[in-house]
């Protein structure tokens, strides 16, 4: 056995075309994977990273073909093998772990059966042996209740757990090489760390080699030994993780590093509009409770938001953050009238809006625009871009003909797209371009408030970065207020004036970016901050040793009728049971700063000096929090 497990030499992949020369997709890529090594392929979507990773399974996506080069697994060229030999290698020697675990698991079959299926099928293990191995893997991956995990169904576990179960599935047959295709991209920051940590541990324990495909350099820094930077089907740069992270040589690597945001810090913003104009609130949510199902009294059957008080001033950017399921999107939907509030009211410029959009006037609808997360599904595939952007102009502002066309061109210009795009369809654009069109459509209505629901989370870091820059410029140009919803704290911190932190449907803290982050008081805010990956080798280990991570990560949200919702994940819970029994009241330590926590604010910071609270590596936090 050689030390080299996988050798990729001058790999070329192309898309054949009927009446035209084939389009090259991968243009001569070479790299090696040693045993026990994790190699990261990094690049934005379209760079060919997944296509290259799949070639180690000797697999090509439909519409593509191998056109040259070698992929040697233990010296044997995979590209020369027959289909029967391929079948033998796939799943047995090389395992593939897809991006979305939820889509990979069959909801009707137990987890255990699915995890063990391939290794039993390939005859590597007996069912009994496979079950044992699976159980060991559950333990190694730190899944709860490993003895009985196999008997559960996929819907009974969380998204982060499913992602880890995918890893168990891939590892069950003891493959030589594992391909991980963006396994954490769809996860919350807190869940992401948990999954990363489990992957790293298991890869080390099993001494298996892996190819890790991602666009996120900060994640790569935590897990990879060797990094290959790709752009447009070519290797731009490759080297050890340490070298790429600390001494990147290529321009493109620099560009990728820029897109990784620094840890959340508050920055001061210029004032964009007149002072007296700014002081007027653009929209106010007053004691809003909302949810789904039948409304009994003031309570819907499934309450998502409870007693929300949020105010957005004119030309202000308000960031709303929290983990998935905390009600961020619902908050925006209530403001837009897509979901009527069960209790409380939404006030715009002193006028109480109808709860449901069906009863709102055209002008009220125009002023509040809701921008969807997925531009793919929010743009009608059968309408031209020009028509999509033009419709609000015609509908709200009554523009037609030449005026409309000119305005569409202006709007395309504003979102930095060429004007010819008006004659294209949505499908002919890239992800970032679609999101720009989406923004242009909502800007066309000349809104007062733009509600952006995770508009960057489906995009690559570089593309997302560009969209944020665009939003900042648009605010400056048009004076629109922006509510920016995300689970990524550093994105929000980089450009919002105010931050609202949501947890389990409640506002746990809100204030100016400075008040919330400098220093972070609420234990949940602190957890979110610790969870943002940093572009630094060894960050993952450091973070796992902080007290926030130790208590808060790997625990789910428990919805409680009374008490603090964050109680079960809080490192600072008050012992006498106050936190468990009483819902914390809102306190105002400073003008505009609201926080819901029983703990005295001084204690949050002070307690870091108390020896009994110290966990290993704990003063790391103390040091870092002073940085903010």
């Amino acid at each position: 056995m050689t030390e080299m497990l996988l050798e990729v030499k001058d790999l070329k992949i192309q898309a054949p075309k009927e009446n035209a020369p084939p389009i090259p997709i991968v243009k001569g890529v070479s790299f090696n994977v040693k045993r026990g090594q994790v190699v990261a392929l990094i690049g934005e979507s379209g760079s060919g990273k997944t296509t290259i990773a799949l070639s180690s399974l000797a697999y090509c996506k439909p519409g593509l073909e191998f056109s040259g080069g070698e992929v040697r697994l233990d010296g044997q060229d995979l590209l020369q093998m027959s289909d029967v030999q391929h079948r033998d290698i796939r799943g047995r020697r090389v395992a593939y772990l897809a991006q979305s675990a939820a889509a990979t698991f069959n909801p009707a079959i137990t987890i255990g059966e699915q995890v063990t299926e391939s290794s039993v099928l390939h005859g590597i293990l007996t069912q009994e042996g496979a079950n044992k191995r699976a159980e060991r893997l559950y333990r190694a991956l730190e899944l709860p209740d490993p003895d009985r995990m196999g008997r559960r169904y996929p819907h009974q576990v969380s998204g982060g757990q499913l992602q880890r179960l995918m890893a168990a599935m891939a590892l069950c047959g003891k493959p030589d090489l594992m391909i991980l295709d963006e396994p954490t991209t769809a996860l919350d920051v807190t869940t992401q760390i948990e999954v990363l940590k489990a992957f790293k541990k298991v890869i080390r324990e099993e001494q298996s080699a892996a190819i890790y495909v991602t666009h996120d350099l900060a994640i790569v820094a935590q897990i990879a030994d060797h990094i290959v930077v790709l752009y447009s089907g070519r290797v731009q740069e490759q080297g050890s993780a340490e070298q790429i992270i600390t001494r990147p040589a290529h321009n493109y690597t620099h560009r990728l590093m820029e897109a990784v945001r620094p840890p959340p810090t508050s920055v001061t913003h210029e004032e964009y509009t007149d002072k007296d104009d700014r002081e007027k609130p653009a929209i106010v949510m007053d004691d809003v409770t909302a949810g789904y199902g039948k409304i009994v009294g003031d309570e819907p059957q499934f309450t998502i938001l409870r007693n929300i008080d949020v105010q957005v001033d004119k030309a202000q950017v308000v960031g709303v953050i929290g983990e998935s399921g905390c009600g961020k999107s619902t908050l925006a939907r209530v403001a837009a009238g897509l979901l009527g509030a069960a209790k409380g009211k939404v006030v715009m410029e002193g006028k109480t809006l109808q709860p449901s959009m069906l009863k709102r006037s055209k002008d009220d609808l125009r002023k509040v625009q809701f921008v969807y997360q997925m531009a793919d599904t929010a743009l009608n595939p059968k309408q031209l871009i020009g028509d999509i952007i033009g419709r609000p102009l015609e509908f709200y502002l009554g523009l037609t003909g030449k005026q409309k066309r000119e305005r569409v061109a202006e709007l395309l210009d504003m979102v930095e797209l060429p004007q010819e795009f008006a004659n294209r369809y949505q499908m002919e654009l890239s992800g970032g371009q679609k999101q720009r069109v989406n923004l242009a459509r909502h800007l066309a209505a000349k809104p007062d408030i733009l509600l952006c629901d995770e508009v960057t989370s489906a995009l690559d870091s570089i593309v997302g970065d560009n969209v944020i820059k665009l939003l900042t410029r648009l605010r400056k140009k048009t004076g629109v207020s922006i509510v920016f919803i995300t689970h990524d704290l550093s994105t929000v911190a980089s450009f919002s004036d105010r931050i609202v932190v949501l947890y389990a449907g409640r506002v746990v803290e809100q204030g100016t970016t400075d008040q919330v982050l400098n220093p972070p008081y609420h234990p949940y805010t602190r957890l979110l901050i610790t969870s943002v990956p940093e572009l630094r080798i060894g960050w993952l280990e450091d973070t796992m040793q902080t007290r926030e991570a130790a208590v808060g990560i790997a625990r789910g949200v428990e919805l409680t009728a009374v008490g603090c919702p964050f109680f079960n994940r809080c490192p600072l819970g008050i012992e006498d049971g106050t936190c468990e029994k009483e819902t914390p009241a809102y306190r105002q330590p400073a003008q505009g700063h609201v926080i819901a926590c029983h703990q005295e604010l001084e204690n949050v910071i002070e307690s870091e000096e108390k020896p009994q609270m110290i966990l290993k590596g704990y003063d790391k936090v103390g040091r870092e929090s002073q940085l903010y």
Partner: protein
């Protein structure tokens, strides 16, 4: 409608991705294209043959009476059930009429009636189906339950009852087939409509304050046109078989008009004498229906099999 289907496919083909994905070798690092290359509609060789056969039948449906050697009602041959010869290419039928001419004449009746019936079924089915999907609530419940009731009855049985009550004429045949098949079109249109109604872009249009008509005509219908067009082919086949079955039972097209279904019935006794008179119209039905099916298969395969799931 067939043409509409074709133009839809062509429209899809013509929007080709431009090969700008090729990098410009500068340090700009522009955003890379992520959209997958468009899949062209590729007909398999079987599909190509099927297209030719369908085209021939369509030509015959228009030109049949002009190119047929004899009139459909002419009892011209000396005897019934004559074998094929130079004068009567496919032999004669039980009344001594030329089988070949009757098939050419019959193409117009069979294909024409089926086509108009399918159009009627589509008009009714889509209107009600989309209305149910968009309106929801009680409209949906009532329409769907009535539809279930119609679907629960065997089509032939229902057809027999209606025609027995109203008598057989071509308009009544068309209406009957249209009504019966509207039920299954309704099902598909409603399912497709519901699927699209929950899409973000529809919600977005509603949040903008758009009215029902805009949502139906600009957001929903363009997005279900392709699957519905594909289904149109399949539905046409069912209607051809339905009309033929009715004619076979003697309730469809009345003599002396020729129709493939009734031709099979009339000449069945000839099988005993070794005559092919019943086989030729049966073959005509088979070639048409199978060809349409094959083309639909190719189309739905190029749409990624997504259509197949919705079509059942």
């Amino acid at each position: 409608m067939n043409d509409e289907k074709k133009s839809d496919i062509e429209a899809k083909q013509s929007v080709d991705t431009d090969p700008k994905a090729e990098e410009s070798s500068s340090d700009q690092f522009e955003e890379l294209q992520t959209a997958p290359p468009k899949q062209k509609l590729k007909l398999s060789w079987v599909g190509k043959i099927a297209v030719v056969i369908i085209a021939i039948w369509i030509v015959i449906a228009f030109a049949g009476p002009y190119i047929a050697p004899f009139h459909e009602a002419d009892m011209i041959a000396d005897d019934s059930f004559l074998p094929a010869d130079k004068q009567f290419w496919l032999g004669s039928d039980y009344l001594g009429r030329d089988t070949f001419s009757r098939i050419l004449w019959g193409a117009r009746t069979t294909i024409g009636i089926s086509f108009i019936s399918t159009l009627a079924a589509y008009f009714v089915g889509i209107t009600l189906g989309i209305a149910a999907a968009v309106k929801g609530g009680w409209t949906d419940t009532i329409l769907s339950r009535v539809n279930d009731a119609i679907l629960s009855l065997p089509t032939i049985m229902l057809g027999l009852i209606i025609i027995a009550a109203l008598g057989s004429s071509i308009p009544i045949l068309i209406l009957t087939a249209g009504l019966i098949y509207a039920a299954s079109v309704y099902r598909i249109a409603r399912a497709l409509g519901q699927d699209i109604m929950v899409a973000d872009f529809v919600e977005c249009a509603r949040a903008r304050g758009e009215g029902v008509w805009w949502i139906i005509f600009r957001e929903v219908l363009p997005n279900c046109a392709m699957p519905l067009a594909t289904d149109f082919g399949l539905r046409l086949v069912f209607v051809v078989l339905f009309i033929s079955s009715l004619s076979f039972l003697g309730l469809g097209v009345q003599p002396p008009m020729s129709d493939w279904g009734s031709m099979v019935r009339e000449n069945l006794q000839g099988l005993g004498y070794g005559s092919f008179a019943a086989i030729w119209p049966a073959l005509a039905i088979a070639t048409l229906t199978i060809s349409v099916n094959l083309v639909v298969d190719d189309i739905s395969a190029s749409a990624g099999g997504k259509l197949a799931g919705k079509m059942v």
